[in-house]
């Protein structure tokens, strides 16, 4: 598979233009046409019918990494669609008419922050969102993913992400949460989905990023976590595995490699003076090679590993991981390492929220002008236990 890419371009990558074409959200080309026939349906499966805000986020984030502008009409269309995914009781659902769930809530808020217009920000009903978060909060500090749903560390990340971006964190919202997350760190040094479970890249990212948001990342055994995550990079493939002794997968380019910027910052804050000033603590070039040489579909889009088919999830996370591998530092100290052509360069991504840093700053700035909603949700829920 890789030979074609090398010969065609002379160097790794060079196909990112195909991704840009492929990621274009179909938009209205001819206003005169009959409504309903205008946008072509996505060739994606019915199995994602309860994940449509995810599709919005995966696609929008991929476009922003590729520095591809989103037409204003599409921006508005996405806002209106996500508004229909918002539940009357707060939070966002996988599609219009479905129940609210923390995962599409996370995706919707991220998508709206990427769009970053007043219209986008105004879609979010902050008061109801807070109610929703309280409705899924558990006494032990954890969160269920949806009312009547399952608990795992993803929920804490989704809750922390949306609450911090939209400025709805009350004194009690995350009571006990950091302790619950900490109990997910196991003998391997990584975090499992729940206490007792095997350390896993996706869950480790969620737990660590949530702790960073809560300002409690220093309570982790950072050295053990660092050893675990750096050990997840595959010495032959260059990409990352999700768990010890499992196979490489392009999406872990973000979930795993994305931990290194978080740990770097945490160690730095802890007073570590021996940290590198130019690189993350993983082999950035090798990861870029894996993504560019093994994870691209020649027709556009990215994937798990050679032989697998492309999808928007892998496109988002392979590109996110590529961005992490290309950019070291922050606004003040920035060092780039772009493998192959200059056009392979992606925009930087924020390692906590995985949207571009400017969008994070802009959203936080916007929502911090608004007051934190009153905690009526908390007491109301306790009384409504019928």
């Amino acid at each position: 598979h890789t030979h074609g890419l090398w010969e065609e371009t002379g160097e790794p990558g060079g196909n990112l233009h195909r991704h840009r074409e492929n990621m274009q959200i179909p938009h209205r080309k001819d206003p005169g046409r009959v409504p309903g026939n205008q946008t072509q349906a996505l060739l994606c499966c019915e199995c994602l019918d309860a994940s449509r805000p995810w599709l919005c986020y995966w696609i929008l984030h991929s476009l922003e990494l590729l520095e591809e502008a989103v037409p204003a009409a599409v921006v508005s269309d996405v806002c209106q669609f996500l508004a229909r995914c918002q539940s009357p009781t707060g939070g966002f659902a996988g599609g219009p008419g479905q129940h609210a769930h923390l995962a599409p809530t996370y995706a919707a808020v991220n998508a709206l922050c990427i769009l970053g217009t007043e219209e986008a920000y105004n879609v979010i009903n902050r008061e109801k969102l807070l109610d929703f978060l309280y409705s899924v909060k558990q006494p032990d500090g954890s969160f269920v993913m949806h009312v009547g749903g399952e608990v795992d560390v993803r929920s804490a990340y989704c809750a922390a992400s949306v609450a911090s971006l939209t400025n709805i964190i009350t004194p009690t919202l995350f009571e006990g949460t950091h302790n619950w997350i900490l109990s997910c760190q196991n003998w391997e040094g990584g975090l499992g989905g729940m206490p007792g479970l095997e350390a896993h890249g996706g869950y480790t990212f969620c737990g660590t990023a949530a702790l960073v948001i809560l300002g409690k990342e220093h309570m982790l055994d950072l050295k053990a976590l660092l050893r675990w995550v750096t050990s997840r990079q595959m010495r032959f493939e260059g990409g990352f595995q999700g768990r010890c002794n499992k196979l490489v997968d392009g999406c872990y380019s973000f979930w795993q490699a994305g931990l290194l910027p978080l740990l770097h910052r945490a160690l730095f804050k802890d007073g570590d003076v021996t940290l590198s000033l130019s690189s993350w603590m993983f082999e950035q070039q090798a990861l870029q090679e894996y993504i560019l040489l093994c994870c691209q579909n020649p027709a556009g889009g990215l994937l798990d590993k050679p032989g697998k088919s492309r999808d928007f999830y892998h496109t988002c996370y392979c590109l996110s991981g590529l961005s992490v591998a290309q950019h070291f530092g922050n606004q003040d100290l920035h060092h780039e390492l772009v493998l192959g052509k200059e056009e392979n360069r992606l925009a930087p991504t924020h390692p906590v929220y995985n949207i571009c840093p400017e969008k994070v700053a802009q959203a936080i700035q916007h929502f911090h002008q608004l007051p934190i909603p009153a905690q009526k949700g908390a007491t109301a829920c306790a009384e409504d236990q019928s």
């Binding site: 269309d77 479905q98 399952e150 391997e188 130019s278 082999e283 390492l337 772009v338």
Partner: protein, 367 residues
């Protein structure tokens, strides 16, 4: 995979003429784009919109708005089933026909957590046979074992029945197809912990490790069981586990799981506190080398420095550790070069005398 339930007969309030007309036009439409799994006539599949027993219910189309984005190309069957699901939801209908429809909706998209939630509401409202539901969910999980909703549903049914008697065997069956299925292990840990079914689990773990000593999920389960039963605090247990780990390491020296487990169980007490450990590991080094062995030695030396073990010369230990880090960075584990160099700098900074080493801020140039 949908189970066919008995459909409650409802009074037909729609006039026959209108119904007939609608049925004909719908069926003609259906025939035009007929798919293999959707026969229209002759006792085959019938859309809900054409079923007499459903005529009282007005289907609710999805409210995607005038300019939908991320549109999915739904099949006719999907649209039909979900239009009726939305109608049921809107009316909060709690009936047998609603229950039957949830199975179809699940068959079309087992990740639709709203449907699952509704099914659970119906299970309770209609006082459905939960044993039958166990059979149903077992079949669904066999078919789609990597789905969150199916496992959560099973857990709810087991909780309601307060009966875990089928669980360990069922999960073992799923693990026999994929020994690392994360949902299966999660469910297994929940069952064992909730119902106190620790007996025999260590034996089960050993069976799995016999089959595949590289199964990290099994190693994790081993740690889980021991932590919650004997714990590692007794010297006998710790010794047994250390010897078990070393035995597995000898069988497969490049198996990271075994090395991680060995480190994981010894680190709380301090690697350098365990008598004879260094000798045992150095002995292994005569037969083989592996980056895991070398990394283990680094950890050992670091612990020696940390505990300020007066039996050892600190400077000598530090130098040995630094040498190993450089060997790993340069030759044995180059993919982690940045990490091992950081470890070396950290050790030097913490235990070395004199100046703090400055990290290299080299600019890397690529053409």
């Amino acid at each position: 995979m949908s189970s066919v339930e008995e459909i409650e007969e409802l009074p037909n309030s729609v006039s026959d003429a209108v119904e007939e007309e609608r049925a004909i036009s719908d069926n003609v439409e259906g025939e035009a784009d007929m798919e293999d799994d959707e026969p229209q006539r002759g006792g085959g599949y019938l859309f809900y919109r054409n079923r007499r027993e459903w005529a009282d219910l007005e289907p609710v189309p999805q409210d995607d708005g005038p300019n939908p984005v991320v549109k999915i190309a739904y099949s006719d069957r999907f649209t039909d089933v979900y239009d009726y699901f939305r109608a049921l939801l809107k009316n909060d209908e709690k009936s047998e026909r609603a229950f039957a429809l949830t199975a179809e909706a699940i068959d079309l998209n087992a990740a639709n957590y709203t449907v699952w939630h509704y099914r659970r509401v119906l299970l309770q409202a209609l006082e459905k046979d939960l044993r039958e539901e166990m059979k149903y969910i077992s079949a669904i999980i066999e078919d789609q074992p990597k789905n969150y909703q199916v496992w959560h549903h099973r857990r709810m049914v087991v909780e309601w029945l307060n009966d875990p008697s089928e669980e360990l065997q069922f999960i073992a069956e799923i693990l026999s197809q994929d020994a690392k299925n994360y949902h299966a292990w999660q469910h297994r840990q929940w069952v064992i912990q909730t119902f106190n079914l620790w007996d025999g689990e260590l034996e089960y773990v050993e069976e799995l490790l016999e089959e595949d000593v590289r199964n990290n999920s099994a190693w994790n389960q081993r740690h889980f069981v021991i932590t919650h039963t004997s714990t590692y605090s007794s010297p006998e247990v710790l010794e047994r586990e250390v010897q078990y780990s070393i035995k597995q390491i000898k069988k497969a020296p490049h198996n990271e799981s075994a090395w991680n487990y060995l480190k994981g169980i010894l680190q709380p007490g301090g690697l350098s506190s365990y008598p004879g450990l260094l000798e045992q590991v150095e002995e292994l080094q005569e037969s083989f080398s592996s980056p895991y062995l070398l990394g283990f030695m680094v950890d050992f030396f670091e612990d020696t420095l940390e505990t300020n073990n007066t039996k050892c010369n600190q400077t000598e230990t530090l130098n040995k550790a630094m040498e190993l880090c450089e060997l790993l960075a340069q030759e044995k584990d180059t993919i982690r070069r940045e990490y091992w160099r950081y470890v070396a700098r950290s050790l030097q900074s913490k235990y070395g005398s004199g100046e703090i080493p400055s990290p290299k801020g080299t600019v890397q140039i690529f053409n």
